[in-house]
Symmetry: C2
Subunit: 200 residues, 2 copies
Amino acid sequence: MINLTTRQSEIFEFIKKEIESNGYPPTRSEIAKVFGFKSPNAAEDHLKALKKKGVLNIVSGASRGISIIKEDLGIPVIGLVSAGGPILAQENIEKRIPSSQNILSHGVDFYLRVRGDSMIEAGILENDLIAVNKKTQIKEGAIVIARINDEVTVKTLKSISPDLVILQPENSNYSNIEVNPKTEDLAFEGTCVGLLRDFA
Amino acid sequence: MINLTTRQSEIFEFIKKEIESNGYPPTRSEIAKVFGFKSPNAAEDHLKALKKKGVLNIVSGASRGISIIKEDLGIPVIGLVSAGGPILAQENIEKRIPSSQNILSHGVDFYLRVRGDSMIEAGILENDLIAVNKKTQIKEGAIVIARINDEVTVKTLKSISPDLVILQPENSNYSNIEVNPKTEDLAFEGTCVGLLRDFA
DNA sequence: ATCATACCTGTAATTATATACAGTATTAAT
DNA sequence: ATTAATACTGTATATAATTACAGGTATGAT
C-alpha cells in the first residue's frame, strides 16, 4: 500500500470505524462534520486521494458508495526460520491468520511455530504457535524470542545485564544458555504473549 | 428471532449479500429493482417488517441507513462448572468469544477454562482455555472432557469398554481414574480440539 | 364476517448526497 | 524555481434516496 498521509489515515480509520459501528459508510458531509471541515468537498478530495492510493473504492453516484479494499494480509505465521535475513522475511512465512481473529489481549505481530521440546515444562510443545509481540519491553521472567548468531530460539529470560544474558529452557534435560551480548550476536525478536494449539 | 416469511427472508438475505459484496447496504429502489417491485415503497414495507421483527435496524433519514443486527452471541467460555445442571448453563458462562474469531480447524462448541494441574505433561496448564467440540466421535487416545458424578474433568481417554472407562491424567503425581459407566454417572461433554493461552 | 398481516402499485414531496467548479495556502518533490 | 500534491473554503446543482399517503389483493386467524 502506498503510504497515506496522517490526515488521510485519520479519514481512512474514521471510515472503517463508521462501517464497523454503524454497518454502513459515512457521507461526505458526515466526514466533514466530524473533522470540522466547512465544506463536504474537503471530504470529497480526501476520498479521491484515498481511492487513488487504492485503499478504498468509490461507486460513482451511489450515496455512501464507499467500500474499503481489504488488503489485510493478516498476522504471519513463521515456520522454520532460515538463517540470516529478518525473521519476517517472505520465505519464512508459512501462512497468515487474519488479524480480526486475534482473540488475545495483547497485540500480536506474528505467530512462531515451535520447534523442539525445550519449553515443555512451561506447557509449550512442538508445533504450538506462540503469539509474539515485538514492542513489549523485554523483562526478566518473560518468555522471549531471541536470536543468537542467526539461531532463533524461545526461552525464559532468566536475567539480563550488559555482559551476560541468561536464557533458560523449560526442560530439565537442557541447560541454560549464557550469552555475552558484547561478543556474540544477540537480538530479541519479541515477547511471547499467547499460545495457540490446534489438535488437527 | 421471530420467524420471517419466505419473502422477508429473501429480502433479508439480499441485504446481507449486498453488504457483503458491496460494502454498503442497498437503497429501497435497488431492492425494488432486484425483486421486480414497481414501487420503492414495497421495499420500504419489507424493511419496516424486518425492523419490527428485530433482524435489522433502520436509521431514519439516512440513505442506506440499514444495518443487520447480528444475533451471533459467540462461543461461550465456561469458567467453573457448578455441580448439577448442564455444562452450558448460563451461570457457568464466563464470557463469549465471537465465533468469527475461531482460528482452529475444528468447530468449537465452547471453551473450557482449565482448573488444576492434572494435564501439565500434555502442555495443558491451569487457566488455559481448551477448545471443545461436542460432536466429534470420542476416541481412545484423545483428550476428552468427561463428567463423572457431576464433576467435570479433562483427561486423556486411555481405554473405553462397556464396563470400564480409564481416564488418564497427564501428570505423574496423579493416577488413572477408572469408572464403570454402569454403576457410575459418566458422560462425555466433548473432545479437546484446541488450546488457547493468553499471557495477560 | 371481520381484522390483522403480508405484499404489493403509484405518486409525490422533502431531504440527503454526490460532486463539479472556482479559489487559497502550505509543503514536498524535480 | 516550478510543479505536483496536500489540505482545505465556499457555492451550487442535479440526482439519489427516504418516506408519507392513498390505494389494491390475498390469506389466515379470531
